[in-house]
Symmetry: C2
Subunit: 475 residues, 2 copies
Amino acid sequence: MADLPDKKTAFIDWYLAVVEGANLSDKRYGIKGMNVWTPYGFRARRNLDTVLIREIEATGSEAIEFPALIPATELAKEKEHIKGFDGQVFWVTKGGLSTLDIPLALRPTSETSMYPVFALWVRSHRDLPLNVYQVVNVWRYETKTTRPFIRIREIHFFEEHTCQANEEHATARVRSNLGAFRKMAEAFALPYLATRRPDWDKFPGAHYSIALDTPIGGPQTLQIGTVHHYRENFSRPYGIQYEAADGSQQFVHQTTFGLSERLLGAIIAVHGDSKGAVFPSAIAPHQVVVIPILGTDAGDAPARVAAEVAERLRHHGFRVHLDDGEERPGAKYYRWELRGVPLRLEVGRREAESRSVSVADRLGRKSKVALDQLERGVAERLLEFDRELTERARAAFVASYSLARTLAELAGSTTVRIVGWCGSEECGHRIETAVDGALLGTPEEELPIPVPAEVTCIACGRAEGARWAVAGQPL
Amino acid sequence: MADLPDKKTAFIDWYLAVVEGANLSDKRYGIKGMNVWTPYGFRARRNLDTVLIREIEATGSEAIEFPALIPATELAKEKEHIKGFDGQVFWVTKGGLSTLDIPLALRPTSETSMYPVFALWVRSHRDLPLNVYQVVNVWRYETKTTRPFIRIREIHFFEEHTCQANEEHATARVRSNLGAFRKMAEAFALPYLATRRPDWDKFPGAHYSIALDTPIGGPQTLQIGTVHHYRENFSRPYGIQYEAADGSQQFVHQTTFGLSERLLGAIIAVHGDSKGAVFPSAIAPHQVVVIPILGTDAGDAPARVAAEVAERLRHHGFRVHLDDGEERPGAKYYRWELRGVPLRLEVGRREAESRSVSVADRLGRKSKVALDQLERGVAERLLEFDRELTERARAAFVASYSLARTLAELAGSTTVRIVGWCGSEECGHRIETAVDGALLGTPEEELPIPVPAEVTCIACGRAEGARWAVAGQPL
């Protein structure tokens, strides 16, 4: 039970220790960056997927699944796209003992597998919009250092692909996706900022890309999702056309919305503390752990009551774990704090006698709940826990941004920075050099901190065309 | 709206026409045997998975997920296993622009990915049993003709892998899996027979294999699941050992339980008829379709009542589709029969006036339900539909077997055959030749038809060691 590394000064060491200590992922598989989803980690992932699926289906999207392998010939059809992914693809070149005629790519993303088929599905304006999504794994031959959930080679992925009648409808779908993400992020208690990426950092083949970033300490940010507007960039090479009401043939405008298991990494990174992971109740593998305290004079009442409490809560629909093993209570507290369980319920002699449970939430707040109020009491405390978690995360989020007025100030930034930017690529790159990171783009919504009405470019000093933009160090 | 091919005389043509007509799978993807899960097909698959997951978790198994890629060196460790899969593996040989040092297999099954890690997870008798499962895709370089759901190259797969303390515990796990499958099959209304496969047909590396077969017409059968006992065949090469209570080191005994999307193929094949697919209510993408009948004198009451009915049923938890499009009712009836929806609810002028709905189930039975009894009435009719579907399937199942007493009788069999078999490989192969198919093995449960107490080998005539066995033509 060694202490965890310090989150502030040794973030990555802390993160790796939490993932391992909470037993969320096992990286002892024989291939770099390909990890095993443990039972506990898989439960968190399943809960995450449940939220994504609920919110995207509420916007009328339907689940589908395309094959994992993509013929090299299809992958190459959109030029920017293949340039962006060329170095990252795993190639299948043999089937059984034969060499394949056409190499097959393990999908790094699914534009090029889906769009030839979309061209068959979309024939008339009555087939639009086509809003479909899949939750699948994708593979990327990552050459940088890999990290569980955050940068890996087999990625659990969510991708919505849509076809719209025209540019305005596609823009509306982008807005709808951003609205769906707001609800997902609420369930994760994750604050974030949506920015439009600079042109040189957009998705390969996109007209523009909006990315969702969350700060994870100092100037560092984690990109936790993206929404792209493709205009006709893919529909032209893949021939996705429809007959409009007036009889003319039109190319569809497309959008995509991408999320991944990195959200789980962000949840750990943002909410975790010196004791380990902290899961919001929507994601927690166990929402409640029940621990009987078996003192020498306690008899078997605590064990009986603890089992009854666990059973009642389970029956009510909570995800509950009864930890009635032989370890001492301290060891159990330590483990379930490390593993991020929102509520710990303790039942000792006194609780058994008074028909109550002691409740400690993962943020350190303690209370009692009478057994005759058990289900309501636990539901209320979970709600309060989520509310407090959201508030703390929001306060840390706001404190993660600060304004910079000169390039010199950007050196050694201890927060993500808000800067004026004229929009030119030259000034953008000067800002990136000064912050030793990236220009994350211009905000798509209100900034987390107040900014002056007047804005000039931090690099060239021009007011003309200048807007506030965000600069930081993406992990 | 052409008629479907005849199921009895042109089974495969009928099957392919149903899968395409019901829009369950799109095979116009650019790689042989790799198909697209359409929205409707994906819903059926999701419902199927829900049943598998519910029943396996009820037996204490936990979900995990291992990487899709397996180093060639790990795949080769168990000799029979690699021999069995050598010709069927897709190989990844390149990452980005580099050739990989060790080729990576796309998993054809996951023994060789999981077991090196199981060797790390299992240390003590307290870690046993280890019962884990994953629902993932596997890939097999199939060289035979491919068929949607039945024989394909990217397979949606369910695999449980367990480690047990000794052979008896492993045998008990095999029994537990067979019990879980019985419950799954009840939800699918699928009759089947469990047989122990002859040694020459067991899973590569298994001690023995029990397979679950369902007849699909004439002598043809479809293998819809397998349960394997591995003894120590894998734990020795992969070093999965534990310290027993007495301090000694022991190898675990292992079992696996495999199912796949082929179950969906079996559901279509067994229940489907001259009008198309017939889905049991647990699997049906839509359990109920509601169709307003808009006659010239009907006004807007039918549309209003139909919408109200759909909304009430949806709210109650049924999967409901309201088909309020402009087509004539006949075209809608045809489509939803083809697509296998259990209940069709019609609302015309008379129904709207009498506050009722007309119900037609997919087996052709008609009734009325008053709106004030709607939810209960629909629930009852779904139950009755499932019951009738199960009974019809059971009757067809029993009629699919017949006894044969001579090898000559096996030629041109019009059913699956029950034969006496002495257990020798030589006689087994003579039976296989005579039936132009396979000896499916010896039953693990009561045979569907009565058999005499006395049994002699159909090939050599010996009574010694002879048992009843099943012979047919696996698809």
